[in-house]
């Protein structure tokens, strides 16, 4: 590899100092891969190595041996004989080693083979016509051609030559007849097979008969092409021929004649105590090569016959091959060892290899790792560092007048302390406020490593606020975390601004808040804000002090109850928490529906439904108005993570990160202290069911068991009503599973209803801090159905799950239903079933982590270099455009406020504006005025600043608002003009009017916020997208099936499905086409269409297929069963059957062999002679029932499904049921074309097929939809922009590229990146054969080279004008024209 270096000349100064040319700062611009010839190796080397020894008896490295001092010092006691450097500063020098006979380089063996396939084995010219050669050369020399295309072209040339050569090809130039070239089996070599070359063969055969020795069948025509022959052929190749074969250099370099012996520095020799030394694997390999080489040399000298040396030569070949790649195939059995010494390829490849282990990821200093523990008294941005750790880690601080006193603390190293002055650098210990990076593995998204401020604390653990557990996914059951200390001011600043906790409260996955209150904080908030918590002056003041350590200013609100005693409520405490004093300008406005919200309907006005909202009897409707908690008991929906309308989200969007983190800090302190005093614990009495509850549960279970038994009875009698697309057993399973799952749910409901409100598990489940109703139900009432693989417990014994049950038992208890609770205890069989379910869970998690990890890695590798440019386009490192505008609107997903990724939540914003901007006597606007102002304002803000979609959404929002107001005003106007109407109008305005000021403020806020939400140029949006898709994968359960409308039709879901989509798989496990019907409200019509699509075999519609033999004729007569055909609404008659038989490829019958007797009968006369006719007839009779007479071959089956979405509507409006077809199998084109199908609305989940039939844009949409569907099925929301980017990357080349090693290769990536991904050695060898030139521009390459990458803050380049600015002339100006 040569490094192109910038060189600058400089004037030479004459001094006594040795001359060192100053070439200015050097930068690696590109890497060129090439091969070294034998002479180049000799030139580069300092010494010839010929002795296979290391040290002499007195431990001095032997000259000419493998540790020759000219290649660098072997240990600390020696010096280098070339550069006289010591062990630590000699870079090392090469040696060389001459082989007695040339051998193949295994890395290039496939290339050598390809070349040999293409050249004449006599004259070394290409086996192509001159004209064809020129054509190929022209294509190869096209400068616009990418490396990948060139490789493809080369492959096609090889294919062309080898298909010709499969017979025997005559060289167009010399006329020599070439045979087939192939790799030798079991040995490292290449065979030239000329056995098909007929003419010469006879000559050989006759020659063989004359020889005495070879009685055995020696195949003379096939001979091994030995490296000497090949080298000879290669040397004679012309340069243009090499170019056609995409060889950048002479092909003889592919064959080894001299081996470069690497410097000792890369194969260190460790001296053990005693006289033993421990040598590196490479050194030992070289030793063996030298030994083999020496014996081969000996053989060559001794024996005159050339072929005697063959054995030694082969061994040498194997040794050299293993030196390069110890896993090479074709090593003779005698030389195979259990653990081979590793070769060079082994050093590079794999997770621990040079590329992934040392170049892409490096070990670092200034780090710490220990166990973590919680500390609610810390701020969310802080991390407590143990004193001991802080005394080891340092930060180099430059001394100035301002910090010299701080730096000079302590009484140690007085001498140094006296000399210390401004400008010195002191490596001081960590102190409070230092910037540290904090990380927990697995680092699945960027929030897994964040920047905190240090707090030096006693004891031995790293501590942080529990609110920050979520992004790290940490708990305190023994987790350890890592800490890094940035060492420069630049690094600190960048870390603080980009990675600071306060700047990463939101996840870019979907814009939801991630750092939020958890567990105890939620529980105590829930209890504090209960409607019946009242505090007197002392208690309330104390709690106000809790949240700020008594150091903050607090304005005490007026008590809610003034008389008979002053009492404050818990809700008032929260008002204080959010806005402690009047000078704090935080006005939060939000509404959240908590879990406990009853959502009771009070009345309907028109089509608008008025819900109970704040007056909810359970107090589940949270309403903050101007930072006052009006109503609602706070729980996870308000304070927790994963919500976009929660308190913290609103605070963050409206008042910034500082206000949010302050609020979280106060809540953490308050909660921790409050709950410490209040006490919160769980005991056995919490899970003891009351009498009525256990009665209720017993009744519930026995009732449902009864229903199950009835169903089982029906099934046994064959009376069960079948579900669509299911057989009886499947229907029974579906029905019973449904009933049993309902038992657990009902039991859960019963628990939640009957437990007293003070019950700890109930409180935790209600506020969302831990546990679900199902968990409570399992402890208190009933554990429920155990499932293995999505089914009830399978039969481990003959026809039964366990020998405790009768054979073929289908009862709930026999198939894994656990009726007991954890409190009451499980019976033996129940316990066994429970462990079955438990094991599946364990296996699942173990498999899942590996699977998703690999998926994430592939995603990252494919997307790592995508970034936003200053023109808002998304490009890869090479500048190739992937998207013209990121996500079609250029918005940052992390800042999206709307539920499904819209930039703003207008409803909430309007509420906020109305509340914070009081009407204060201003006039309310009429609907017409509103629309006028809106239009004016929108025009003023214009299009240049925002997308059309945003403007439209704003317009639409106002239309809805206006409609509402319009209606209200109308009612008032209808009444007429009197005193009362005036009052009514006033009231109406107050309820739903808007003033001009409010409207103005609203629109202005919309636009100003929209502008801030733009994604910044330089954002590594690819990596963010990859993490956003990869991270949720870890949370998905592996094997889940989801029923597509029909019970029996399941679609692969979860990780396997995501994997399929991302891989761009050509065959997917459950392809389903969702076909819309042209006439979708008629079930019969749907049946007809179903009949057309589903394949019908002749056997299904034939009444009989008989062999008829008369004295003159023998034939087969087929009679069709017209009744069945009519029942199934098929239109099949004898003619159609005839056509389909003729078209069936395996049955070789022609039109004239089949005779249609009438519309239901046909006769077949097979065209064979009479002797064989009997057999023919019988074989035909066996094949005929399998002939497809109607339908699409590739379709497995078709199910008619009711439309899910419209089911609700159907119920309400009494409309007809709507149907569609679900087609299992492939064949999208055929299904779309089927009569009665609306092809425009038909969809498939098979991406590859969609691309084939509908094109690349359809495939892109399909990818987006499918990922979205899969994620949604697991209750995960991912911003659409990430999926768009992934889909665009997969399709931007015009074909669907999977995120696999094959797809990524085609994505215009550099050699180093591909080498650091997979197949390291292959990519490197190919790159050097093709002479690839790698510009260092991608992320992987920059990391490997240690260069800042052109991404994020690195996107900026400073350019300085080099030329001296022109002298300015004053006085008379230059004439414009002279």
């Amino acid at each position: 590899m040569t490094q192109e270096l910038q060189q600058k000349s400089q004037s030479i100064a004459f001094t006594k100092q040795p001359y060192i040319e100053d070439v200015g700062p050097r930068k690696i611009e590109s890497i060129q891969f090439s091969m070294m010839s034998d002479s180049e190796i000799m030139k580069a080397a300092e010494v010839q190595v010929y002795k296979g020894q290391y040290y002499s008896s007195n431990r001095v490295p032997i000259e000419g041996g493998l540790l020759d001092p000219r290649m660098g010092p072997a240990n600390k006691s020696c010096t280098c004989a070339t550069c006289h450097g010591g062990f630590s500063n000699c870079p090392g020098h090469y040696g060389y080693l001459t082989l007695a006979l040339p051998v193949y380089n295994v890395g290039y063996l496939s290339t050598i083979l390809d070349i040999l396939k293409c050249i004449c084995k006599y004259c070394s010219r290409l086996l192509l016509e001159e004209k064809l050669c020129k054509d190929y050369l022209k294509k190869m020399r096209n400068p616009k051609m990418e490396a990948l295309r060139k490789t493809d072209l080369m492959k096609s040339i090889v294919k062309k030559c080898s298909t010709m050569a499969s017979k025997a090809v005559k060289c167009p130039r010399c006329g020599y007849i070439n045979g087939m070239v192939k790799k030798a089996v079991a040995v490292l070599g290449i065979i030239h097979d000329r056995s098909k070359v007929t003419e010469s063969l006879q000559e050989f055969a006759s020659a063989i008969t004359h020889t005495k020795e070879s009685k055995a069948a020696v195949n003379v025509a096939t001979y091994i092409l030995n490296p000497v022959n090949v080298l000879f052929l290669f040397k004679r190749m012309t340069d243009t021929d090499c170019e056609v074969l995409y060889l950048s250099e002479r092909p003889e370099k592919l064959i080894i004649t001299n081996i470069a012996v690497p410097p000792i520095a890369i194969r260190p020799s460790v001296i053990m105590d005693g006289s033993q030394s421990n040598e590196n694997d490479i050194t030992e390999r070289l030793k063996r090569i030298i030994q083999t080489n020496a014996s081969l040399q000996q053989e060559l000298v001794e024996a005159n016959s050339a072929f005697k040396s063959l054995a030694g030569w082969e061994t040498l070949q194997v040794e050299v091959a293993q030196y390069i790649n110890s896993d090479v195939r074709g090593v003779p059995f005698s030389m195979q060892v259990a653990r081979p010494l590793s070769g060079f390829v082994q050093r590079l490849k794999g997770k621990q290899g040079r590329f992934r282990g040392n170049l892409s990821g490096k070990r670092v200093e200034y780090t710490g790792r220990t166990v973590i523990s919680p500390d609610p008294n810390l701020k969310i941005t802080e991390v407590a560092i143990p004193i001991r750790m802080a005394r080891i880690l340092t930060y180099p601080e430059r001394v100035s007048d301002h910090n010299i006193e701080k730096v000079l603390y302590g009484k140690f190293r007085n001498q140094l302390a006296v000399e210390l002055k401004s400008g010195c650098i002191v490596d001081r210990h960590l102190e409070d406020g230092d910037v540290v990076l904090f990380n927990r593995q697995p680092s699945l998204h960027r929030m897994s490593i964040m920047c905190h401020r240090a707090r030096i604390m006693p004891w031995r653990t790293l501590r942080f606020n529990e609110s920050v557990c979520n992004p790290y996914n940490a708990d305190f059951d023994g987790d350890e975390m890592n800490m890094h200390v940035p060492q420069t001011e630049e690094a600190r600043t960048e870390a603080l601004l980009l990675m600071g906790v306060q700047n990463n409260l939101c996840t870019p996955k979907n814009g939801e808040i991630l750092v939020a209150s958890t567990q105890d904080f939620l529980t105590s908030s829930f209890l504090i804000t209960r409607k019946d918590t009242f505090y007197d002056r002392a208690a309330f003041s104390l709690m106000c002090c809790y949240m700020g350590d008594g150091m903050d200013r607090v304005d005490l609100p007026t008590p809610a109850i003034l008389k008979p005693v002053e009492l404050w409520t818990g809700k008032q405490l929260f008002s204080v928490l959010i806005r402690p004093h009047a000078n704090m300008r935080v006005y939060v406005n939000l509404t959240v529906k908590e879990k406990t919200y009853s959502n009771k309907l009070i009345r309907t006005e028109g089509d608008e439904e008025i819900r109970i909202e704040t007056m909810c009897p359970n107090d589940g409707f949270v309403y903050f108005r101007n930072s006052e908690l009006i109503s609602g008991q706070l729980g996870k929906a308000t304070l927790g993570n994963g919500n976009k309308d929660g308190l913290y989200s609103v605070l963050l969007r409206d008042y910034g990160a500082h206000a949010t983190s302050g609020c979280m800090n106060r809540l953490a302190k308050l909660s921790a202290r409050w709950i410490g005093n209040h006490g919160f614990s769980i005991g056995i009495d919490d899970v003891q069911p009351k009498k009525e509850l256990s009665d209720k549960k017993g009744k519930l279970i026995s009732e449902n068991y009864e229903v199950c038994n009835v169903k089982i009875k029906e099934y046994n009698e064959g009376k069960l009503h079948l579900k669509p697309g299911c057989d009886a057993a499947q229907t029974l399973e579906a029905v019973i599973t449904d009933i049993l799952n309902r038992i657990r749910e009902d039991a859960g409901k019963a628990c939640m209803g009957s437990l007293p409100w003070r019950n700890s598990p109930l409180i935790m489940s209600q506020c969302g801090s831990k546990g679900s109703p199902i968990n409570i139900s399992q402890m208190v009432a009933c554990v429920g159905q155990q499932s293995v693989g999505g089914r009830r417990a399978p039969n481990g014994f003959i026809d039964r799950s366990l020998p405790h049950f009768p054979r073929k038992a289908k009862e709930p208890a026999a198939k894994g239903f656990v009726a007991n609770s954890f409190y009451s205890g499980l019976s033996a069989t129940e316990f066994f079933f429970h462990t079955m379910g438990g094991r599946e869970g364990l296996v699942d998690t173990a498999v899942k982590t590996a699977d998703t990890g690999y998926m994430s890695r592939r995603l990252i590798k494919a997307l790592e270099d995508l970034s936003i440019q200053y023109d808002n386009s998304v490009r890869n490192a090479g500048g190739c455009i992937v998207q013209f505008l990121y996500g079609d609107d250029g918005m940052d997903p992390a800042n999206m406020e709307g539920k499904s990724g819209e930039p703003l939540n207008f409803d909430r914003l309007l509420m906020k504006v109305k509340a914070t901007c009081p009407p204060a006597g201003q006039r309310y606007l009429s609907p017409q005025q509103v629309s006028e102002i809106v239009e004016k304002q929108l025009a003023a803000y214009g299009k240049e600043s925002c997308s059309e979609a945003f403007l439209n959404s704003l317009r639409k929002f106002f239309e809805v608002q206006q409609d509402k107001l319009d209606k209200k005003i109308k009612f008032v106007e209808d009444i007429g003009w009197d005193d009362k109407s005036q009052i009514l109008e006033e009231v109406t305005h107050k309820t739903s009017g808007i003033t001009e000021k409010q409207l103005e403020v609203f629109i202005q806020t919309c636009f100003s916020r929209y502008r801030v939400k733009r994604v910044e140029a330089g954002t590594a949006i690819g990596a963010i997208g990859a993490q956003s898709i990869g991270e949720p994968g870890t949370q998905m359960t592996l094997k889940t099936f989801h029923f597509a409308g029909v019970a029996s039709m399941n679609i692969t879901q979860g990780v396997p499905r995501i994997k399929e989509i991302i891989n761009g798989a050509k065959r997917i496990s459950t392809p389903i086409i969702t076909a819309e019907l042209e006439c979708n409200d008629n079930e019969n019509a749907a049946r007809v269409v179903k009949g057309r699509i589903e394949k019908t075999l002749l056997g299904q519609v034939a009444k009989s297929i008989k062999i008829v033999m008369t004295s003159r004729l023998a034939s087969i007569v087929i009679a069709l069963d017209m009744e069945t055909i009519q029942d199934a609404h098929l239109c099949i008659n004898a003619d159609i059957v005839k056509e389909s038989i003729v078209q069936t490829p395996k049955i070789k019958l022609k039109q004239q062999h089949i005779k249609v007797l009438d519309f239901r009968k046909l006769e077949i006369f097979p065209p064979v002679d009479k002797s064989k006719i009997h057999f023919e007839l019988y074989s035909l009779k066996n094949v005929l029932p399998m002939v497809i007479v109607k339908g699409i071959k590739t379709v497995e089956r078709v199910v008619i499904a009711e439309k899910e979405k419209e089911k609700k509507k159907v119920k309400e409006n009494g409309e007809k049921k709507k149907y569609r077809l679900l087609v299992e199998g492939t064949g999208l084109q055929a299904v779309m074309g089927a009569e009665g199908i609306d092809g425009c609305k038909t969809k498939s989940n098979h991406i590859f097929e969609v691309q084939q039939t509908l094109g690349i844009e359809a495939a892109r949409i399909c990818i987006i939809d499918e990922i979205n569907e899969t994620m949604k099925a697991h209750g995960m929301s991912i911003d659409k922009r990430h999926m768009m980017l992934l889909a665009d990357l997969m399709t931007f080349r015009g074909e669907v590229l999977g995120i696999t090693r094959f797809g990524i290769q085609k994505m215009d990536k550099s050699v180093l990146m591909l080498a650091s991904f997979e197949k390291t050695a292959d990519h490197l060898f190919n790159a050097s054969v093709n002479g690839r030139d790698d510009r260092i521009e991608g992320v992987s390459e920059c990391i490997i080279m240690g260069i800042p990458m052109p991404l994020g803050t690195g996107i900026l380049k400073i350019r300085q004008r080099d030329a001296v600015p022109p002298m300015l002339k004053y006085g008379a100006p230059d004439p414009i024209m002279s």
Binding site: T529, R530, K531, D532, F534, D555, L556, P557, T558, P559, A560, I561, L562, K563, P564, V565, E566, L567, W568, T569, G570, K571, Q572, R603, E605, I610, T614, M615, P617, N618, D619, Y623, R625, N626, E628, L629, I630, S631, W757, A915, P918, P919, K968, F971, D974, I975, K980, I983, L984, E986, V987, T988, K990, T991
Partner: protein, 146 residues
């Protein structure tokens, strides 16, 4: 006096906890007024001020407790001054957070919602009694059993 008190009437308790008892110390009462035909839902601290069905009480809403009509400062200043509070047994302080309406045309009824630190009140009736209330107004609720 009348400019201090924004609304006053005599109510009769009709129901207590219409949706079942949810909280230990707070009950929701449903009451109807005698003069203005107002309907009221109110959360009352039942520990301090127990109420039973059929109880008759007078309820007033005032924007200040100062008898001279000086507006409330928003800061709580207890003292031994003479105030409106002296005449009542149970006083709460809160904020009007919503004005709503029900029905349409002549039968339109207005409703105001007040939150006394989480204890909610809903007062529904003829718009004329409601129209002079403003959003975000601080209100004192004064109650005395008759």
């Amino acid at each position: 006096m009348s400019n201090i008190v924004l609304f006053e009437d005599i109510f009769v308790v009709e129901k207590i906890d219409p949706d079942g008892k949810k909280f230990d110390k707070v009950s929701r009462i449903e009451a109807h007024s005698q003069n203005c035909d107002m309907y009221m839902l109110l959360d009352v601290n039942s520990e301090l001020y127990p109420m039973r069905v059929g109880d008759k009480f007078t309820m007033a809403l005032a924007h200040t407790l100062n008898l001279d009509g000086t507006p409330d400062t928003g800061y709580y200043t207890p003292g031994a001054r003479k105030t409106l509070a002296d005449k009542y047994e149970y006083i709460m302080h809160g904020k009007l957070f919503k004005i709503g309406d029900e029905g349409s045309g002549k039968s339109l009824k207005a409703e105001i919602y007040v939150s006394y630190g989480g204890l909610l009140m809903m007062l529904k009736g003829d718009p004329s009694y409601v129209s002079h209330f403003e959003l975000d107004q601080r209100l004192f609720l004064l109650m005395r059993k008759l």
